[in-house]
Subunit: 250 residues, 2 copies
């Protein structure tokens, strides 16, 4: 998954620099798995690796952890990559473009299509990336958040950026929410339903007086025209009208 | 924060139906705080509420938990809202539009600008929303994910949807399509219409046999939940039901 394919280089690597808790590494793996990222790189995790707590929170994304690679420093972790972003919660005192996640997704796809290996650096849970790591990146990526509550946890920062990457790419098409097959009612079926309903409403006196009838009919048709009824639903509605009009069975 | 302001109704409510773990409720609050959502509603949480574990994971978003409201069922929790989405991980056997988070964000902003209170229903961690809850919503929202690892945890589903809502910002308001001169029906008005309709359908025998009643009720509610009914339209529908049930005047 992380290798080159016919559409350019593989999906971006997620590089965690100095992550502290195994649970968080697992949650990052899960977020990656949700959005078809597979290349996890760990730079000097605080606790010994492999860490069983990570597999627990990774849920179905254990394979991302199985394939994770360990590095001593961030320089080594990104040595094979051609385009790298640094995720950061704050503006840095450095002259680098700061991208939104959506802009970052576009930039990552563009780099990938040029054949560049890509990656995103994330700092440790408590302090984020230090400047020495951020400066290695081609650009920063910042998730815009509400100023009153701006801190995203590590897995959530990964999630938002991975989400945008996935939405921007061809993978999203495959997963695209499909609209399930149920046949839309034909106009003739809907017209027959209206005729049936209006005949019953005439019979029970609901559409009186005659001068108001056209406007009332229009409002009623409007309610049902807006709904995109299926053929089954039209049959249900006709059953309701017939049932109500026939009155109580006793 | 949840009330109407000069730009229409407040930001969407997040409605958790049957959440299990306090930690997850806290993580949801944090995700809400990150993206300026403040109206958290809890429907029958499994563990006693308030739950100290929630405040621990909420980090800086404790105020979201302080203001959270408790409800016995989802119907009560959304009674004052005019436009409700149901977050779901899978296609349902019901004919409702399924929106991506980006489409959902635009729809929520548009509803808000019409003056409708809005909300998003999320099911419990293990099983998601059941159909009886999902059917109350105007549309579904599904996060497209990789098929091999499609399960998002609760807070992450909230995060992605809240993120898109926040990104859509005030620009999405321009897309508003208003229906002049009438306001969206509140869920309580629609619930009263359903109660009225179903009572009449019980009386005339339409909902027999009893074992088929739940599925029939679901299909019927679904027809009307999809339409974005105005308060005037709900009055018209109630008039139709009363008129048909009263039978021919002669």
């Amino acid at each position: 998954m992380a290798g080159r394919d016919s559409n350019g280089a593989g999906p971006p690597a997620v590089v965690l620099v100095g992550p502290q808790l195994g649970e968080n590494i697992g949650a990052v793996a899960r977020a990656m798995g949700n959005f078809a990222l597979a290349d996890l790189r760990l730079v000097s995790p605080r606790d010994p690796w492999p860490n069983p707590k990570a597999w627990h929170t990774a849920a179905a994304a254990g394979s991302v952890l199985d394939a994770a690679r360990l590095y001593d420093d961030s320089e080594a972790a990104i040595a094979d990559l051609g385009f790298v972003l640094a995720a950061t919660a704050r503006r840095r005192d450095m002259v680098k473009p700061a991208l939104t996640p959506r802009e970052a997704a576009a930039a990552l796809h563009a780099a990938r299509m040029r054949g560049a290996g890509t990656g995103i650096l994330f700092g440790c849970e408590r302090t984020g990336l230090d400047n020495a790591d951020a400066v290695r990146a081609d650009a920063l990526v910042m998730v815009p958040t509400d100023a009153a509550c701006s801190s995203l946890n590590l897995a959530q920062a990964v999630l938002v950026i991975a989400y945008e990457w996935f939405q921007a790419g061809p993978e999203a098409d495959k997963a695209t929410v499909s609209r399930k097959g149920s046949k839309p009612a034909e106009k003739a079926e809907i017209a027959a339903f209206f005729a049936h309903l209006e005949a019953e409403l005439d019979a029970c006196g609901f559409l009186h007086p005659p001068e108001k009838r056209p406007a009332m009919v229009r409002s009623i048709r409007n309610i049902f025209s807006r709904t995109g009824l299926t053929d089954q639903e039209v049959r249900t509605l006709r059953g309701i009208v017939a049932g109500l009009a026939a009155g109580r069975p006793d």
